[in-house]
Amino acid sequence: MHQLTLAEIARGLADKSFSAEELTRALLQRIHQLDPQLNSFISVTDELAISQAKAADARRAAGENGALLGAPIAHKDLFCTQGVRTSCGSKMLDSFTAPYDATVVAKLAEAGAVTLGKTNMDEFAMGSANESSHYGAVKNPWNLEHVPGGSSGGSAAAVAARLLPAATGTDTGGSIRQPAALTSLTGLKPTYGRVSRWGMIAYASSLDQGGPMARTAEDCALLLQGMAGFDPKDSTSIDEPVPDYSTSLNGSLQGLRIGLPKEYFGAGLDPRIADLVQASVKELEKLGAVIKEISLPNMQHAIPAYYVIAPAEASSNLSRFDGVRFGYRCENPKDLTDLYKRSRGEGFGSEVQRRIMVGTYALSAGYYDAYYLKAQKIRRLIKNDFMAAFEGVDVILGPTTPNLAWKIGAKNADPVAAYLEDVYTITANLAGLPGLSMPAGFVDGLPVGVQLLAPYFQEGRLLNVAHQYQQVTDWHTRAPNGF
C-alpha cells in the first residue's frame, strides 16, 4: 500500500479497495517502524490522523468524492497546526502548540486530507541539508550517510522512503526543489502569492512560498490544487483564479520552447549532473520540445543578494521569539536584557543566530544602502533577466543543484559552501517565479534533479512538462533500497 501515489490512492479509495483508516493505520505503522532510521518526522500525529481518516471515510460514505478525501499527507513543521506542536525545527518552539491552523493546513483538512505528522526541517527553514534541526539531522533514504537536502528535508526523506505519498514543504531559496532533487522527488515552488503564507512561520517573507512535494508531477498537481488560492488573511496573496492543474497535465509538448541558460552549465556544476540534465533535454526534444540557449546575465549576483535580503527579513521576523509570550524562556532571568539575551542565545541554534546577525548588520544605519538597497536592485535586475528570457521561451531548464547529496557533516565547517548549493534555485525566489524539480537519474546511487522554471502563474505548464517527461522515463518510480 505504501507504494501508492496520491492519484492511485484516490482511485483505490473511490473504488473501495481500501478505506482511509486502513491506509492511515498502515502508513502510521510504517512510519513508526522505519522513521527511526531517517528522523524525518518531528511529530507523528496518530490520533489526529486516525480521527481525520475516519471522518474522511464517513464523508465518502455520504457521497463525497474529492481527490484528497482520505489522502495521507504530512506538513513541514512550520505550518501552524492547531493543537499540535509546531516547532520550526527549533528548541525555541519545542514547547509551542499552535493555537490556530495555517491556511494551507485548514484547506487541506477541509479537502479531507489526513495529517500523519509534522516533518523535520532545518531550524526556521535555514539550511540546505536539514542538519540545523534541533531534532537532529535527517538522513537521505538513498544513502543514510548523506543529507536529504533542506530545508524541507524531512518531507523529502519521508516521501522518498515511501512513508507516505506526499507532503507540504516551503521554498525560500530552493527548500522544496533542492531536497526534491537530492531524494528523487517532484517538488514545486509556486509563484509568490499563489499559496497563502498565513500560519506558515516566516523565514524571509518576500521569498517564502509553500508548495507540494511528491513522487510524481500528477501528485504535485493534486496537492497544489488543495493548497493554492487567494487568502484575504495574507496581503501578499494574489487574487487570481486557480486553474485545474490535473487537466493541464496532458498537453502535448510539441513546439514547446525550452531555454537552457548558459550560466547554469558553467563552472561549479558536477559534470555527471550536467550529462543527466542533457539527457533529459534529449527526452524532451523527442517529445517535440524545441531547445534554445538563453542567458540570465545577472545570475552571478543572486547568491549575494539572497544572503542579504533573506537574513535581513529573518532578523526582523524572528524578533518575536523573545521569551516573553511563547516559546523558550531561559531559567531565572535577572532582568529584561538578560531574559532576551539568554532566551534567544539558548533557544536559537548557530545557523539561525548567524543569519540574524548578518541580517541585523545589513539593515543597520550606514550599511542599509550598501547592502539591503543594493540587493533589492539586483533582485529587480534578475527579474528583468527572466522577463526578457520568457519573451523567447516557454520554460527554462537546468540542473536543480550543482552537486549530489553530500555526506552528513561534510559542509558544517563552511557555511558559504552550503550557501553555494542554492545557486540555481534562489533566482526563482528572488523573481517570485514558479519552479519545479523532477527526478532525472542517478550518479553513484544518488538522485539528480532537473529544474524547470516558468512565467508567473504557469504552474500548470511546469506540471505538464514534468508529467509528460514522467510518461517516458521511470526515474520517479524507483525506490531506495530498504524502503
Binding site: R197, A202, S319, V324, L336, Y372
Partner: protein, 481 residues
C-alpha cells in the same frame, strides 16, 4: 543674551476606527487587559497583518484638510526594537514614503494674529501595548489591548517660537481631528499625545541649537509647562557655560521639570526596512476626489465665513472656530439671538469664563445655546439691560430656568416708563439736595464727573432695572432745570 525658542512637535493621534490597523480586534478603551488582543496582536508565529482601509481613509482626510500632498504610493516599514509591550519585536510604521506629505495649518495667537505652521508629514503606524509595573509583585504585566491601535503621527516643522504657540498648534490639531471625526481627542485616555522637540538659539542666529525631545506629554497645560521648564533649563545650562546634549527627556509634572531618559548614543538603531508582509498602499486620485467631497467645513473655512457672514474679527472667528462644538454653539446662539457680535461676545467672555471656572468643555456647558440665545433676545428688545443680563446668565447657570422665567421670577424687566423713572429721579435729587446745589454751581468739567454720581444713585434706587438711556436723558433735563 536674548534667546529665541524653537519648537517642533510630533503628535500621535489614535484614529477612531472600530478595529485595529492590522487586525480585526476592537479598539475600545478601558477593557479588561488582553481581552482585545488577537493572534495578530500577540505576534503569534505565522500571523500576518492586513491593512484596515478605514485607517487609510482617515489619514487621507487629514491630509486633505491640511492641504498636503497625499502619498499616492505609500509604504509601510518595520521599525525594529525589543520591548515587552511590542509583541513582534518591530512596530509597523512608515518611513520613507508616508501617506501624508507636506501641508500646513493656521493657528490663532493671543495677540490677535494668525500664524501658519508647516506640517512636514503624517504617517500611519500601530500603537504598542502597555507595560503595567504595579500590582505584579516584582514582575511586570503586559496589556496588549492597545497594541495595534491605529496612530497617525503628525510631524510639524520647527516653526513655533513659544510654549504658547506650541499649545495653540496642538489645540488646532486637536480641533481639526475632531472636526474630521478621525480621533476622539481624549488626551487623558492617551488618544492624543505629544512629543516636543525644544531648542534655543541667540536671537538673530540662523542655525538651530541642539534640541531635546520631551516624550509623551498628554495635556495642553503640561505641554506649556514642560516646554517652559525645558527652555529655562537650556538657558541656565548655556549661560552657566554648559552645552545642551541631544537626548530624550521626560516631563515630571509634580516637580515641574524635565529629566533625562536616554541620550542619542543610547538611542536604538531601528533598522527600518519596507515590511514585506504588506504591499505598498496605492491611492487613486478618484478616491481622493470622492473623499474631498465628504470633508466637513473645517476651521480655516469656518474662520473665513465667520468674518464675512457675521463681521467678526479674525481673532474672534479663530477662537470660536477652534472647536466644532464651540462653533456650533456660537452659531446657534447667534441664530436665536439675532446678533452675531453680541453672541460672540457672550460665548467667548461670559460663557468662556464660566466654563473655565467649572473646568468643563462646552458640550457640558450648564447654559444651553438655546437659553443663551433666548437671553440675548431680551437684551436686544430692551427687556433687560446688559448688566441685568449677567444676573440672568448666572441664574441660568445655576439651573434656575430660561431667561424669560428668571426675568419674571426676579422681576428684572427694564423700567422704561418715563413717568416711573422721573419719579425715581425726583426722589434721588430730593435726597441729595446738597450735591444738586454743588452740581449747579460747578463748571462743565466737574459736572461731567458728578453726573455719574446721580446716574449711579438712580440705578441703585431702581435696583438696576431703570433703562439707562432714559435715565441719562431725563436726568440731564432735570439737572439743567
Amino acid at each position: 543674551m536674548q534667546w529665541e525658542v524653537v519648537i517642533g512637535l510630533e503628535i500621535h493621534t489614535q484614529l477612531a476606527t472600530q478595529s485595529k490597523i492590522f487586525s480585526g480586534s476592537a479598539t475600545t478603551f478601558g477593557s479588561e487587559p488582553n481581552t482585545q488582543a488577537s493572534l495578530i496582536d500577540l505576534g503569534m508565529p505565522g500571523v500576518l497583518p492586513v491593512l484596515n482601509q478605514e485607517a487609510v481613509r482617515m489619514a487621507c482626510m487629514f491630509g486633505l484638510a491640511i492641504d498636503a500632498e497625499i502619498g499616492q504610493h505609500n509604504v509601510f516599514a518595520r521599525k525594529n526594537y525589543f520591548y515587552p509591550d511590542l509583541p513582534k519585536g518591530y512596530q509597523i510604521s512608515q518611513m520613507e514614503l508616508p501617506i501624508v506629505g507636506k501641508g500646513h495649518l493656521d493657528i490663532a495667537l493671543e495677540d490677535g494674529t494668525v500664524k501658519r505652521i508647516g506640517i512636514t508629514r503624517a504617517h500611519l503606524e500601530e500603537d504598542a501595548g502597555k507595560s503595567l509595573h504595579e500590582d505584579f509583585a516584582g514582575s511586570s504585566g503586559i496589556d496588549l489591548n492597545r497594541a495595534g491601535t491605529p496612530l497617525l503621527e503628525i510631524v510639524s516643522e520647527p516653526e513655533m517660537r513659544s510654549a504658547k504657540e506650541a499649545v495653540a498648534y496642538v489645540k488646532a490639531i486637536h480641533a481639526l481631528v475632531r472636526y474630521l471625526g478621525i480621533c476622539d481627542g481624549n488626551m487623558a485616555e492617551g488618544s492624543l499625545r505629544c512629543d516636543c522637540n525644544v531648542s534655543i538659539r541667540p536671537k538673530g542666529q540662523a542655525e538651530f541649537g541642539t534640541r531635546c525631545e520631551i516624550k509623551n506629554v498628554n495635556s495642553f497645560r503640561f505641554i506649556e509647562r514642560a516646554i517652559n521648564s525645558e527652555v529655562q533649563r537650556q538657558i541656565e545650562l548655556i549661560e552657566d557655560g554648559g552645552k545642551v546634549i541631544q537626548e530624550t527627556r521626560l516631563y515630571d509634572p509634580n516637580k515641574d521639570e524635565t529629566r533625562s531618559m536616554r541620550s542619542k548614543e543610547e538611542a536604538n538603531d531601528y533598522r527600518y526596512f519596507p515590511d514585506p508582509d504588506l504591499l505598498p498602499v496605492v491611492i487613486e486620485s478618484a478616491y481622493l476626489d470622492d473623499l474631498r467631497a465628504t470633508l466637513p467645513e473645517l476651521p480655516p473655512q469656518k474662520v473665513e465665513r465667520f468674518q464675512s457672514q457675521y463681521g467678526l474679527s479674525a481673532y474672534d472667528a479663530n477662537v470660536l472656530a477652534s472647536s466644532r462644538e464651540q462653533a456650533e454653539y456660537f452659531e446657534k446662539v447667534a441664530a436665536i439671538g439675532g446678533d452675531a457680535k453680541l453672541a460672540a461676545n457672550w460665548v467667548m467672555v461670559e460663557l468662556g469664563s464660566l466654563l473655565n471656572k467649572l473646568g468643563v468643555e462646552i458640550d457640558q456647558a450648564p447654559v444651553t445655546a438655546e437659553q443663551l440665545g433666548g437671553m440675548l433676545l431680551r437684551i436686544r428688545d430692551n427687556t433687560i439691560s446688559g448688566k441685568i443680563a449677567k444676573t440672568v446668565f448666572e441664574a441660568m447657570a445655576n439651573g434656575e430656568g430660561d431667561a424669560d422665567q428668571i426675568i419674571k421670577d426676579k422681576d428684572l424687566i427694564v423700567e422704561s416708563d418715563s413717568g416711573v423713572i422721573e419719579k425715581i429721579l425726583d426722589e434721588v435729587l430730593a435726597a441729595n439736595a446738597e450735591q444738586l446745589e454743588q452740581y449747579r454751581a460747578a463748571d462743565e468739567a466737574k459736572r461731567g464727573k458728578m453726573f455719574g454720581f446721580f446716574v449711579g444713585q438712580a440705578m441703585r434706587a431702581s435696583k438696576g432695572k431703570a433703562d439707562p438711556q432714559q435715565v441719562n436723558q431725563l436726568l440731564k433735563s432735570k439737572l439743567e432745570g
